[in-house]
């Protein structure tokens, strides 16, 4: 199974702007750590999921390239600066272009990537172009999570249909978010059940999270 197994690329786009400083960024670090450990304990996720982390504040940076779970190194995260969501979306498109294997005559393509965006504020750069492009070309299944009342859900809705809202930036909520991401990745790596074009299945969001209609 190993040689011809497809990969499920998973991108985490994490907001590390100034407002995340302190407890929230610690909770995010903890969440990423918990996510890795959860996914490494699931045989299907371990076999298929590949993980990358893109962070954004005044600029966007891919702090972890797409890596198999066993080799994944936890990224160093520091909070500070603005919220360049647009730059992050551009970088995401670029990374998908570069890292995700396309189906060709000679190569088994990867599964459509799963992207989780976590942000607590409104973007401070020009994001419209990048958002529109993502929504139009749909290179990935994107799930956006607005953390706390400061986050702008209307912006996220421009990127994807699937937007979640969590109450606040508490450690509890953030840890629930990462636990939910891990359930989503596990479920996706299991139920890649070959219905071309079908919607992906996600577990119900954690208690207190609402789906933004």
């Amino acid at each position: 199974m190993s040689d011809f197994a497809r990969r499920l690329p998973v991108y985490l786009l994490l907001d590390v702007s100034g407002s995340m400083a302190g407890d929230p960024i610690e909770a995010v670090k903890h969440g990423v750590r918990a996510l890795i450990s959860e996914l490494r304990g699931d045989p299907q996720a371990l076999e298929t999921a590949y993980l990358s982390v893109i962070t954004f504040n005044s600029s966007a940076r891919q702090v972890s390239p797409l890596t198999e779970l066993m080799l994944f190194q936890e990224p160093q995260l520091h909070a500070g600066g603005a919220t360049s969501l647009g730059a992050a979306l551009h970088l995401l498109t670029e990374c998908i272009q570069r890292e995700v294997r396309k189906s060709t005559e000679t190569q088994k393509g990867d599964w459509k990537p799963l992207v989780f965006i976590l942000t607590d504020g409104a973007p401070t750069d020009d994001w419209r172009g990048a958002a529109a492009e993502l929504k139009a070309t749909k290179p990935a299944n994107i799930i956006a999570c607005a953390a706390g009342s400061g986050a702008d859900t209307t912006v996220l809705k421009e990127i994807t249909e699937c937007v979640l809202l969590m109450n606040n930036l508490s450690a509890g909520d953030l840890s629930q978010f990462f636990a939910w991401v891990s359930s989503s990745v596990k479920l996706s790596s299991k139920s890649l059940d070959s219905k071309p074009g079908a919607n992906i299945e996600l577990p119900p969001p954690p208690q207190g999270f609402v789906i933004v209609p």
Partner: protein
Amino acid sequence: MNKIGEAILASGKRLKYVITDNPPRGGMKYTYFAPDKSYVIQFFNDPSKVDFNTRSRIEAIIGKYNPTLPESRGGSLGNDDKLAAYFEKRFCWPTDIVVSPEFGLVSPAYPSNFFFDSSASQLLDLKGKDKKSNWFTSKNRKYLNKSELGDFRSMLQMSLLLSRSIRRLHQAGLAHSDLSNNNVLIDPKSGNCVVIDIDSLVVPGLYPPEVAGTRGYIAPEVLATMELPRTDPRRKIPGSTTDLHALAVLIYEYLFLRHPLIGPKIFSTVSAEEDDFLGLGPQALFIENPDDTSNRPSNLKVTVKDLGPEMEKLFMRAFVDGLHNPALRPSAMEWERGIVHAWDLLHKCSNPDCSSKWFVLHDVNNPVCPFCGTKIADKEIVRLTLNSEVRGHKGQWRRLSELDAVNNTPLFKWHTHSNIFPDEKADLTMQAYICRHNNEWFLINSHAEGLLSPQGNPVPQGQAIRLTDGTVFRASRDDRGTLINVKIISV
């Protein structure tokens, strides 16, 4: 931090369970554990889909179709205590229905050998994780300690136990309908397996469950037609013939540690999803298909041929003739038979570092382990051919199977009688055994009644027959007693 919930069962009994965030979740249900982990409570992901049909199906599963419960306690017809106890180890069968807080099920927890302990891996923290088969049959294998991996013989044993369990379901008219690497837990170390997620069984006469199945195990015809409405007659739904596809996939994975259909062939360049759909569905192609090698990996070393002609034929029927023609797939009982016959030809590899440790010696002219290429160390192969008398044609014998013997190889009733099969009811008393003494081979009668010498004289218990190349004798004078030919082949 965890809350304790209380479930009220259909029987009125109350059971506590620990409510966790993000409980383990399958395609249909999610699971909470008992405070002491001795049982699990499962609820449906979508309670709105639990209707009258679901309830009556699950009642039938827990009651009159239950092979893990003796008939005297409401289990399946003809089931005695011994059989019930046997199948209790082979299935994680639900025991009760939860009525409050909502509809759900109670099942026993899996036995502890199906959970990893802290010594399972140096690289991963697997303590307490259940042993889904793809820990052992995918590249994940390399993260486990060698002591977890079992060997070819333990994998063959699990294949036999699984075939037997599925045969038991099918014999009662049931079908699992979602057999997969997730729903069969395996413990290669001890050679045991247990079938779980019993609630989506197809029950005769009742409305079938809505199961999607699991990628890699869904039968091609089910996948190919799954977009059609449920009422469309062309739509194929899971049942016993689709179980037989999944069973063959699992056996193939256990024995070869790879998937039988996932190979290098590109079916579509449009998307991974379409490629996958075609390659596991309408255009599925066995990686070892002898006529179309376009899906064959370049590095195939051990193949179905290495298991001997009988197993090879079964795999060809499952993945060539029957891949797109469900009626041609081997039944679970045929797998049982084939595996038992392969078992009798197992040899221990003489290479102490061989990871498979055992192999099927089907070709006496080439007694080499296919996994590591090492020739057997024995100087001789003692091969007994078991024959059964053709009914109504006295004196006419038909070859049944073969058994390779070394010192202390036992013979059981299924060797001495052609009408006895090593199933869950089998008598495990050794009838006779092979013994090497002063460079000669003997068959010693330990418990056999009616063993005859080559001259046709009774051989009482405690007495022996000397075996030389060409020896022929009756293992039992009973009507269905076998006739055994002995070949001693120098290596």
